[in-house]
C-alpha cells in the first residue's frame, strides 16, 4: 500500500480549478447533424481538440472505451455517433504532437490481462514523458465478453473486488524497477543493475500473473489513476486506489457533499484528505451574453435529441418498438414488455425496473405537461452537469467551486467535434484566469505535476512484494 508520509488530516481547498476534455465518440451528447460536425475518427479531429485544450492549459485529454458496439432492440444502435479508436493507440500518437497535456485512457479490468495492460500503460507513460493516466472501468456482462477469449466470467457483485486486485497487481508491476536501474553510460557492465528489477507473482480467483516487469518508472513515477464509480463500493475503491475521481456530482451543494464523503473515505483508507482530486463530468454552453447562451442551448438540445432519438430512448426501456407514437405527443400508455433493461446500449440504460419506471415517467411527464421529446431531452441532457450562461456568469459560478473546494476542476464533454473547445479556451479560460482561479501556465511537464498530485511513496520495504492479493481477504477488509 502506498501512502504519503504525513497524510493531511483536513481538506484544504486549493482555490484553483483545472480542466480536462472528454472526447466521447459515442452517445447522444455529441452533435452530428450540424454543418460544423466533423469526423469522429479522423486523427485531425483528435489533434484539433487536444491541441486546443493544450493551448488552454488543460490538464487532461480523456478517451472513453466501450468494448462492444451499442445495440438497440437487438441491432446496432444507429442514431448516435459511434465508432472510436483504441484509447492508448490514439494517445500514443497524440503524445508526439502535444507537450504538456495529460493523456487519459479508459481501460477495462475485465477484458484485459494485468501484466499486459500495466505494461502498455507504462509504455504510454514513458512515450509521453510522464503524462499518462488510466481511467479504471469494470464490465461484467457476457454480452461484452462475447468479443473476447474468456467470454463473460465475472459476477456483477465481484467486479470491484476483481478490479482492485487487478489495480494492486498493476501497481506492483509499476513499482518493480529501482530508480537508477539503467546503466548511465555505454561503458557500464550491464544494461540494468543486477537485482534492480523485481519479479511480480500473483494468483487470484480469476487470473494468474508471473512476470518480470518490462519497463522502468516514468518521469511521474507511474500512470495517474482515474475512477468513476459512484456506488458506495465504487467510492471506497476510489478512496483506496485512485488519484482522481471522474464524478457525477457537478452541482455545488451536491459536489460539496460528495467531497466531504470522499474525504471521509480517503482518511479511513489511510490516505491524506487532499490526496484524491475530484473532476465532475460537465458540459458547457456559453455565449457572449446570457441570452445568446440560452439560444445556443435550445439549438444544442434540439440536435442532441431528435424525434427518432426520443422514441428510441423510450424503446430501450419499453423493450419494444414504439414507432407509431408521436414524438411531440404524450408518453405511451402501453406497458413495457421487459422487466429489466439490458446492458446493450450502455451502462446508463442498464438494469432499470422497466414497468415501475414507465409508470413514474408517465406521471411526471403528465404533471409537467411534457411531450416525449421534451421529456427525453430533459432526462438525457443531464441538466445537472450543464453550465449555461455568459462567459462572465459561468466563470463567476466556477469561482465559487474553487473557493469552496467543491471540486478540483471539470472534465468537459464538448458537444461539437472538432470546434467544441474553441469558445471555452478563447473566452472562458481567460475569464477564469482574471478571477485568479485558473493557472497561468503549466506547473510542470508531467500530469501528476499539472494535477497537483504528490509523487507516490515507495512501496513499504517490509511488505512482502510477492505476497498474494487474495480477492476474498480483500473483500473482507473492504467490508470491515
Amino acid at each position: 500500500m502506498t501512502h504519503t508520509t504525513n497524510p493531511d488530516r483536513a481538506f484544504t481547498p486549493s482555490g484553483q480549478l483545472r480542466l480536462g476534455v472528454f472526447f466521447q465518440s459515442v452517445n447522444s451528447g455529441t452533435i452530428w447533424k450540424s454543418a460544423d460536425s466533423g469526423s469522429q475518427t479522423d486523427f485531425e479531429s483528435f489533434l484539433r481538440i487536444a491541441q486546443t485544450a493544450e493551448r488552454g492549459l488543460f490538464s487532461a485529454f480523456f478517451l472513453g472505451e466501450g468494448l462492444r458496439l451499442r445495440e438497440h432492440l437487438g441491432r446496432p444502435h444507429a442514431l448516435d455517433v459511434a465508432g472510436r479508436p483504441d484509447a492508448q493507440t490514439a494517445l500514443a500518437a497524440l503524445a508526439a504532437v502535444t507537450t504538456h497535456i495529460g493523456l487519459v485512457a479508459t481501460q477495462n479490468t475485465t477484458y484485459n490481462d494485468p501484466a499486459d495492460l500495466a505494461h502498455r500503460l507504462s509504455s504510454l507513460d514513458l512515450i509521453s514523458g510522464g503524462r499518462a493516466a488510466w481511467n479504471i472501468v469494470t464490465t461484467d456482462n457476457a454480452w461484452t465478453g462475447a468479443n473476447f477469449r474468456r467470454g463473460g466470467y465475472l459476477d456483477h457483485a465481484d467486479r470491484y473486488v476483481h478490479a482492485e486486485a487487478f489495480v494492486e497487481t498493476a501497481k506492483r508491476i509499476w513499482d518493480a524497477w529501482d530508480d537508477g536501474a539503467i546503466a548511465p553510460s555505454a561503458s557500464a557492465d550491464r544494461w540494468a543493475a543486477p537485482g534492480a528489477v523485481r519479479r511480480v507473482r500473483h494468483t487470484g480467483q480469476h487470473y494468474a500473473v508471473d512476470v518480470t516487469p518490462r519497463l522502468p518508472r516514468s518521469a511521474q513515477y507511474r500512470p495517474v489513476l482515474f475512477q468513476a464509480g459512484d456506488s458506495p463500493d465504487g467510492r471506497d475503491f476510489a478512496a483506496r486506489q485512485a488519484d482522481v475521481i471522474f464524478s457525477a456530482h457537478p452541482q455545488l451543494e451536491d459536489a460539496l457533499q460528495f467531497r466531504s464523503d470522499i474525504v471521509d473515505r480517503t482518511l479511513k483508507a489511510g490516505r491524506g484528505a487532499n490526496d484524491v482530486k475530484i473532476m465532475p463530468a460537465s458540459e458547457f454552453i456559453l455565449g457572449a451574453t446570457p441570452r445568446e447562451a440560452l439560444e445556443k442551448k435550445a439549438w444544442v438540445r434540439e440536435l442532441q435529441i431528435g424525434p427518432q432519438q426520443a422514441i428510441a430512448y423510450l424503446e430501450q426501456f419499453w423493450g419494444r418498438e414504439l414507432q407509431g407514437f408521436d414524438p411531440d405527443g404524450p408518453l405511451p400508455e402501453i406497458d413495457p414488455v421487459v422487466e429489466e433493461t439490458s446492458e446493450t446500449r450502455g451502462s446508463g440504460f442498464h438494469g432499470a425496473k422497466a414497468r415501475q419506471l414507465a409508470d413514474q415517467w408517465r406521471a411526471e411527464a403528465k404533471d409537467k405537461g411534457l411531450s416525449i421529446r421534451q421529456f427525453v431531452s430533459a432526462r438525457t441532457s443531464r441538466g445537472d452537469s450543464t453550465f449555461t450562461g455568459s462567459y462572465a456568469e459561468v466563470s463567476d459560478r466556477l469561482g465559487e467551486y474553487a473557493r469552496t473546494g467543491a471540486v478540483d476542476g471539470f472534465n468537459i464533454s464538448p458537444w461539437l467535434i472538432p470546434s467544441g473547445l474553441d469558445d471555452i479556451v478563447n473566452h472562458l479560460v481567460p475569464a477564469l484566469q482574471e478571477r485568479g482561479v485558473y493557472p497561468a501556465e503549466y506547473a510542470g511537464t508531467t500530469l501528476r505535476e499539472n494535477l497537483g498530485l504528490a509523487t507516490p511513496a515507495r512501496p513499504d520495504a517490509t511488505a512482502d512484494p510477492a505476497g498474494p492479493v487474495d480477492p476474498a481477504s480483500r473483500a473482507a477488509t473492504a467490508r470491515a
Binding site: G83, R84, S128, I182
Partner: protein
C-alpha cells in the same frame, strides 16, 4: 560515390519496385548494440530518441519501418547483462504516425497471448493516426515468459499456427465489419449509421469465439497489409490470402536467392502464385569509420553473441549494394525479381543507419532498384495492392473493387 555498378551485376529494371524496410528496435539488432550507441542507454525509452530515429529512417528513403515487440529478458534466472527494455511496439508505431509522412509503420504484434479483438482495434487505430500507412507483422510467441505473464500454458507446434491464423481471420473480419459507407449521417431519418452496413463476424475457430462488429469504422486502407514469417502459417492458409507479404530467411546471404525461389515455387504449388510479396530478411554489419564489419561484430559478440535465424551480411557498403541489387532486380525483362523487398536489421542503429543512408540507399536509387519513396501514399499502394471491398459488401461492390484491383496489378506490372 563509393561504388560503380559492376558490369556482371543483374540488370536493373527500368523502373524500380523494390522496397527497403528497416527494423529500428532499440539501439540496434545486436543485443550488445547499446554498448556502441551514441546515446545513453536509457534513451531508447524516450520520445525524443524515437522521434529522431523514425525521422532519420524516413529521410534516408526507407519505405517502411518495423517495430519489434516481446520481452527482452526471460523470467527465468538472472537477467542477462545485455537485456535492455523496449516500449510497446504498437505505441511506438502510433507515435511515429503524426511525426512521419511517407514511411509505412509496421508493429510486430503477438497473436497467442493477446486478445484478437483488442489487436484488431489497435491496428485499425494505427491506420487512422498514420493516414493509412499501417501494417501488421504477425508474431506467434513461443516465450514461456509471455505465457506466464498472462497465466497461460506455453503454446507450441501446430497450435501456434492456429493461433496466428485465427487472430488474422478475426482481425480481417472485424476490419470489414463496418462497410466503407456505414456512417451515413442521414439527418432526415436521424440515422448516423446504416445498420445494414454493420456486420456481426460470428467467428468461432474452436479455440475461442468473437462476435463483432468492430468498435471502430473500417481502416483507411480497408485492410491493413499483413506480414508474417514464412513457415508460420500453413500453405493453404497462405493460398487463401491470409497474408500480403512473407518474411523469408536463409542461413547465409548467398542462400537467400535460392530460398526465395523455393518459397515462390511452394506458393505456386498451392495455387498462390500471384500471392504474397516476398521480403528477404538480412542482418547487416557494415564497415564504418575505418573499422571493418567483422571487427565491429567481434567486439559486440565478445559481450553477447548475436544469435539470429537470419542471413547476415558483413562488409562494405559497395558489397551490400551488389547483394541488394541482385535480390531486388529482375534478372531479365519480364521476369520477377527474387524479392519484392528486403528488411534490414542493423547491428547498431546509429552506426549502420548512417552508412545505409549515406552510401547504400542513394546508390540503389541511382540504379533504379527501389520503388519511389517519400510519397503521401498508403502502405497498400507501396505494395501494389488495391483497396479491397469489405467481404460483407454486396456482390456488386466486391466485383467493382476486384476489377479495380486487377487494373492496378496490370498497371503496377508495366
Amino acid at each position: 560515390m563509393s561504388s560503380t555498378p559492376d558490369s556482371s551485376s543483374p540488370r536493373p529494371s527500368a523502373r524500380g519496385r523494390g522496397l527497403l524496410i528497416l527494423e529500428l528496435d532499440g539501439a540496434g539488432g545486436h543485443p550488445a548494440a547499446w554498448r556502441a550507441a551514441r546515446t545513453a542507454p536509457a534513451a531508447v525509452l524516450t520520445p525524443g530518441r524515437l522521434r529522431e530515429v523514425v525521422l532519420a529512417v524516413e529521410s534516408a528513403g526507407f519505405h517502411a519501418a518495423t517495430f519489434s515487440d516481446s520481452p527482452l529478458a526471460d523470467d527465468d534466472g538472472e537477467r542477462p547483462a545485455d537485456a535492455a527494455a523496449r516500449l510497446n511496439a504498437l505505441q511506438r508505431a502510433a507515435f511515429a504516425g503524426p511525426v512521419t509522412r511517407s514511411i509505412a509503420l509496421i508493429p510486430e504484434v503477438d497473436t497467442v497471448y493477446t486478445e484478437p479483438f483488442h489487436i484488431s482495434t489497435q491496428l485499425a487505430s494505427l491506420d487512422y493516426v498514420s493516414g493509412g500507412r499501417a501494417g501488421w507483422l504477425v508474431a506467434a510467441s513461443t516465450s514461456s515468459a509471455d505465457a506466464a505473464a498472462v497465466g497461460r500454458e506455453p503454446v507450441s507446434g501446430g497450435r501456434l499456427a492456429q493461433e496466428a491464423t485465427d487472430a488474422i481471420e478475426v482481425g480481417r473480419r472485424l476490419w470489414d465489419s463496418w462497410e466503407d459507407d456505414a456512417v451515413i449521417r442521414d439527418v432526415p431519418t436521424g440515422r448516423y449509421l446504416d445498420v445494414q452496413k454493420l456486420h456481426y463476424i460470428d467467428f468461432d475457430g474452436g479455440n475461442y469465439s468473437v462476435k463483432g462488429p468492430s468498435i471502430i469504422p473500417r481502416p483507411l486502407q480497408g485492410q491493413l497489409p499483413v506480414l508474417a514469417p514464412a513457415g508460420l502459417l500453413a500453405p493453404e492458409v497462405l493460398a487463401a490470402g491470409a497474408v500480403d507479404a512473407l518474411l523469408v530467411s536463409a542461413p547465409t546471404p548467398e542462400l537467400l536467392a535460392a530460398e526465395l525461389k523455393e518459397t515462390r515455387k511452394a506458393l505456386a504449388a498451392f495455387g498462390a502464385a500471384g500471392g504474397p510479396a516476398l521480403i528477404a530478411e538480412l542482418d547487416v554489419v557494415l564497415d564504418s569509420r575505418g573499422q571493418g564489419a567483422a571487427a565491429r561484430l567481434a567486439a559486440l559478440d565478445a559481450h553477447t553473441p548475436w544469435e539470429s535465424p537470419r542471413a547476415r551480411f558483413l562488409g562494405s557498403a559497395a558489397e551490400l549494394i551488389e547483394l541488394l541489387t541482385g535480390l531486388l532486380s529482375s534478372p531479365a525483362a519480364g521476369e520477377r525479381a527474387a524479392a519484392e523487398g528486403i528488411r534490414l536489421h542493423p547491428a547498431v542503429l546509429d552506426t549502420d543507419l548512417e552508412e545505409l543512408s549515406r552510401l547504400v540507399l542513394p546508390e540503389l536509387r541511382r540504379r533504379g532498384v527501389l520503388a519511389p519513396a517519400g510519397r503521401d501514399g498508403t502502405f497498400r499502394e507501396q505494395l501494389g495492392l488495391a483497396r479491397p471491398a469489405s467481404c460483407y459488401a454486396p456482390a456488386a461492390a466486391r466485383a467493382a473493387a476486384a476489377s479495380a484491383a486487377s487494373a492496378a496489378t496490370v498497371n503496377a506490372g508495366n
